[in-house]
């Protein structure tokens, strides 16, 4: 396990990019749970983990003749600042195509310290 940061360094709904053995990894805090993604977008290797973090937008089939109501789901995505590709922070899967996925890392939190299990 490799120590990457302290819990208080990553606020809820926020992220931080750290370097582990020469590899950039984004550390995210969602509702007190920590997640880690490789900081490399599947599209053109952009620094995805430095992008905006927000809840994914959803919508359901509306009644005939109506527009769908958009709403925020409970899933958080991080959005690559280069081209806008959005990834689910918990799974690393692209919000529009789950077959596109950036590598995730197992995270362990002990005594207010965040570790990567690599």
């Amino acid at each position: 396990m490799i120590e990457v940061c302290k819990v208080e360094e990553v606020e809820h709904g926020g992220g931080k990019v750290v370097k582990v053995k020469g590899v950039e990894v984004g550390i995210f805090n969602i509702d007190g749970e920590f997640y880690a993604l490789l900081n490399s977008c599947c599209h053109q290797r952009g620094p995805v983990c430095t992008g905006d973090i927000r809840k994914r937008v959803g919508g359901d089939v509306p009644p005939l003749g109506k527009l769908p109501e958009e709403y925020f789901t409970e899933d958080y995505v991080v959005i690559c600042p280069w081209h806008g590709w959005a990834y689910d922070i918990k799974t690393g899967k692209h919000a529009g195509d789950p077959d596109i996925r950036i590598p995730t890392y197992k995270v362990v939190v002990e005594e207010q310290t965040v570790y990567l299990d690599v």
């Binding site: 509306p62 005939l64 003749g65 109506k66 769908p68 958009e70 081209h83 959005a86 919000a95 529009g96």
Partner: protein, 358 residues
């Protein structure tokens, strides 16, 4: 009939009806009958042709040509064409539906559609003879269009609802058209999206061209690219999951371009299209496509790649576009060496038989 044992189903031939043919099928007590009656003082606003400046007195529009002396506005003409071309089945499209692109929102579309349906059912369409027809969808009035579909979809000879996609505003993904799709889905009637902005005058999308070579190359593309982008992005396939969609008269090479271009946009902006559940290309691989007009390529392998990209030969339906000049003979499919005999059989007939349920 058939060719080499393969059933031939032409899924897009333009029956060349005239307004003279259909006016008798407007009720006598309907004032609109006078508006459709050529020579009537009330006949002020019903166009007789999509190409007003170039139309020919025989009802064929330039650049249409007659082939093999088949007179294509009688039932005998349809029979003759089918025999000469070895067509076992034929899906007839209204020729005058091409005028829809130049009609503002009023009753001309709905009045025409109902009279055309009545005329065709009475005089031409005949399921027992393999002569089928589609409902020309009067999209300007989606409620009335849905009523027409409800009223006539059970007719054995009616196997599709055709939307002429030339210059439709808003495009066909808009929620105002939901009643049309809903009626088609209830009736298990595939929706045909047929391009049509081929004219020099009234091109619709852009003015300033001086040759039909340009507008004919671009118009069908504009029509169906606009339609496919909007229908997919607005989630029409998700709203009406049992509905089959067939895109006609746009050839094939535009499809992979739209698939990958739309995928690129979707992967950046899918939060705008909240009804979409997968990539645009995945929806497009579930649609069907008429093969006509087949692009002319220097090497058939390019065509092979395109067919592979859009989901394989199962997506395709042979279409002749008779009697128009960019007509395709069944040999356009039958002589493609990269297709297996089974694949040719699918494109020439079986795929359409399955989709249209005949």
């Amino acid at each position: 009939m058939a060719i080499g044992g393969k059933t031939i189903f032409d899924t897009d031939a333009h029956y060349v009806e005239t307004l003279y043919d259909i006016v008798d099928y407007i009720d006598d007590d309907d004032p609109w009958k006078l508006k459709f009656e050529y020579g009537s003082t009330a006949n002020r606003s019903v166009p007789i042709s999509f190409w007003p400046s170039l139309s020919r007195p025989d009802g064929f529009n330039y650049p249409s040509i007659k082939r093999r002396d088949v007179d294509f506005n009688t039932k005998e003409g349809v029979v003759q064409l089918m025999e000469e071309m070895s067509f076992d089945k034929i899906l007839l499209l209204s020729e005058q539906i091409l005028t829809f692109a130049m009609l503002e929102e009023d009753k001309r579309q709905t009045k025409f559609s109902e009279a055309y349906i009545r005329y065709m059912l009475d005089k031409i369409a005949d399921a027992d003879e393999g002569m089928y027809m589609s409902i020309p969808v009067p999209y300007n009035d989606p409620i009335k269009a849905a009523e027409l579909i409800d009223d006539y979809a059970s007719e054995k000879a009616i196997i599709g609802a055709c939307v002429l996609t030339a210059r439709i505003e808003p495009p066909m993904g808009h929620r105002k058209y939901d009643p049309i799709y809903d009626a088609c889905q209830r009736a298990d009637l595939p929706v045909l999206f047929h391009g049509g902005s081929a004219t020099l005058d009234n091109f619709g999308w852009l003015s300033g061209f001086t040759t039909i070579m340009e507008t004919h190359a671009l118009g069908f593309l504009f029509d169906n690219m606009t339609t496919i982008a909007n229908v997919v992005s607005q989630g029409v396939p998700e709203k009406f999951p049992k509905l089959d969609f067939v895109f006609q008269e746009t050839g094939l090479f535009w499809i992979p371009m739209m698939m990958y271009r739309m995928d690129m946009e979707y992967l950046r902006m899918q939060d705008e299209a909240v009804l979409m559940r997968k990539r645009p290309s995945e929806y497009m691989k579930e649609f069907y496509y008429g093969t006509q007009p087949m692009e002319i390529v220097p090497d058939k392998k390019y065509l092979q790649y395109v067919i592979e990209m859009i989901g394989g030969p199962d997506r395709l339906m042979y279409a002749s576009d008779y009697p128009h000049e960019d007509f395709d003979d069944p040999s356009a499919i039958n002589e493609l060496a990269f297709l297996t005999e089974e694949e040719k059989e699918g494109i020439l007939g079986k795929n359409a038989e399955e989709v249209f349920g005949v």
